[in-house]
Subunit: 390 residues, 2 copies
């Protein structure tokens, strides 16, 4: 009898071939103009937060993301912090976000002195379940002057923050309807979803604001970095102002008109980003090829179900994911593959199960709890889809 | 009759020679291994927040700064935010800092939900006046269980944050005495003071914690970056934990035991930092040579007094500074030199004169107010002291 861990190893070996171990979950790939652009920064002396690559990367990114405005930040967490402020989130208010997400989503809410309010997800997307959210808000929400209030806590509910888990778009139209019905702004955490399409347009072009991450584990990296994306020129202007210490432009005077942040991406990192973004098309092709190989290999598995993009999306397949069959011992599977040098990983611990967020308001999270116990991410670097086995 | 602006221009031309305009206030200089180390990041694929250059830069920096522990951050603001948290600053409490400083010092206090409490400075160092502070705390402070309280506001006073303005060390021994007398921790904002000595030891080796900035305008740059320095291994461990989302180390699980921050410096930027730090000795020599040329040139001036390092310090002379004679029209001097291509600048607008900090508690700030109206910073790049006029 073949154990689940042995079965998984056989498929990994089949899909990835003879490959150097350990195999990371997601490694960056530098095969473009990174070198040339960084050298240009050095030669011109422009390495810090003002420089031509910051402007260039913003312009190219905006175009790629289907929005007129992009504002670069030091990372995705900083981008979400500012996006939430711009969406009007105030101290003490509540922000709806999935329990199944990376910690940064909840932390950004905390940085606004606001309170995370956890929402369940659906198996189809791993993201927010719009229908379940609508039913919940109808029960728990009270519309008053000034907005929607939580009947139980008395606090205003300020925004909805869907997260496109592992790069797979949530059903944005369904969430837009909920957002409109309850008068809430939609701020989309697209940290993992650069290049993903929702109904043929970039998922980053939906919602009032969306944010990206360019951390080292993302499809495009700047070492560390992020961006705020929006259609609204005034929000973009405010984002730039707030991320550059709210300094009032002047030839020499140092005046600041509000409390701002030192959140701007350095030109050095933006130069890197320009080179990486030029390769995005190739990365997407390679990652899709890898996902298709995984899909075919897991098609007949009695232990694992390969997660396929929702029908309304073309996903970037940032991280390929399996669902283990209910009741399977995830830890022993993880142990088995790690020992063989495949650095697979589970989903994040759910937010309401962490000590600092355990008392936050939340709806029934039974789908998230089930999924969290069954998700397993597979090695997903673009180069694995290019047949580069170094 | 020669106007002050004409007199200043004549001296700038004399000291800086035939130089390409505009002349920046402070430009970085890349003449070391920047290239080689960044290339190594690209070749190895390690560009993000884990990597060998992060460890290496931390070790070299700690050695250079006279402390056993350095923790790299995305910038100096983030470093100060975490240092204040580690010093025990809590929401609603007050933090003593100079009114004459860059906005980041006050903002970092705000990020702790604490309140800036502004202190006057002395002409000798441009930094905190320890004697005046002691007299003020004797008047306004009340010692109770739990610490020192502000008699007027009822809030606890949590820390003293001296700033080494333009790289010139404040009188740390005098401040240490005040800190001990009133039971307050000393967190030193050394953003501008890398390489400066206080009584023969690095100024960064004094106080409970100190912080650095590696912004593009600093003596050593990483594009954007900062560091937390301390003698205390437990504080260093906490600093590393808090700046890396408070993730609990594990081979695959994603657990976080408190609310942390995404504040870690990427390896790409740390590689740059290693190369820059190797050149620090040369930068210091060049900057001192430039300061000496300025000092000699301004010796006979009837309009301007060149600011010289305090007698207990060997300053890095990050930014050379003049004091205009009382009553001189600073704006017309700035206009004159800017039009001629020398990008001199005034000191920062004092913190209590900015709209968001105007209602914060403060002592008499008459020395700061006088100095702010008279300070003028001169072009100070290291390369100007190396005779590089490109």
């Amino acid at each position: 009898m073949v154990s689940p861990s042995e079965a998984l190893l056989a498929i990994l070996e089949d899909v990835l071939g003879d490959i150097q171990k350990p195999v990371s979950l997601h490694e960056p790939h530098f095969a473009g103009q990174e070198w040339l652009y960084v050298k240009d920064c050095l030669d011109t002396g422009w390495v810090s937060s003002v420089g031509s690559y910051v402007d260039l990367f913003e312009a190219q990114l905006a175009k790629s993301c289907g929005v007129p405005h992009a504002v670069l930040t030091v990372n995705g967490t900083a981008a979400l912090h500012i996006a939430l402020m711009l969406a009007g989130v105030k101290a003490g208010e509540e922000v709806l976000l999935p329990a199944l997400t990376f910690i940064a989503t909840a932390n950004a809410v905390f940085y606004c002195n606001a309170v995370p309010h956890f929402v369940d997800c659906e198996q189809k997307t791993f993201g927010m379940d719009a229908q379940k959210l609508a039913a919940y808000l109808a029960e728990v929400g009270v519309k008053k002057e000034g907005g929607l209030y939580n009947r139980k806590t008395g606090q205003r509910i300020a925004a909805i923050v869907p997260v496109h888990i592992f790069g797979h778009p949530v059903d944005m139209d369904a969430l837009e309807t909920v957002a409109q019905d309850f008068g809430l702004p939609l701020v989309s955490d697209a940290a993992e979803a650069l290049g993903s399409l929702y109904k043929e347009s970039p998922v980053t072009s939906h919602g009032l604001l969306s944010v990206l991450s360019f951390n080292g584990n993302k499809i495009v990296t700047t070492g560390g970095g992020g961006a705020i994306l929006t259609h609204d020129p005034d929000l973009a202007r405010q984002a730039k102002h707030l991320t550059t210490t709210a300094k009032v432009p002047h030839r020499w005077a140092f005046d600041h008109d509000k409390i701002g942040y030192n959140y701007r991406m350095p030109n050095l990192n933006a130069a890197f980003g320009c080179a990486q973004l030029e390769q995005l098309g190739g990365f997407l092709v390679a990652k899709r090829a890898l996902a298709e190989r995984y899909e075919a290999a897991f098609a007949g598995s009695s232990h694992f179900e390969f997660f396929k993009e929702p029908e309304f999306a073309v996903s970037n397949y940032w991280l390929n994911a399996l669902l283990l069959k209910d009741g399977m011992d995830r830890e022993s599977v993880l142990k088995g593959v790690h020992e063989a040098g495949y650095l697979c990983r589970p989903a994040w611990t759910l937010m309401h199960e962490l000590p600092m967020y355990k008392d936050c308001p939340r709806m029934d999270l039974s789908v998230s709890e089930n999924l969290e116990s069954r998700i397993l991410n597979l090695p997903s670097s673009a180069k694995l889809g290019m047949g580069i086995n170094a």
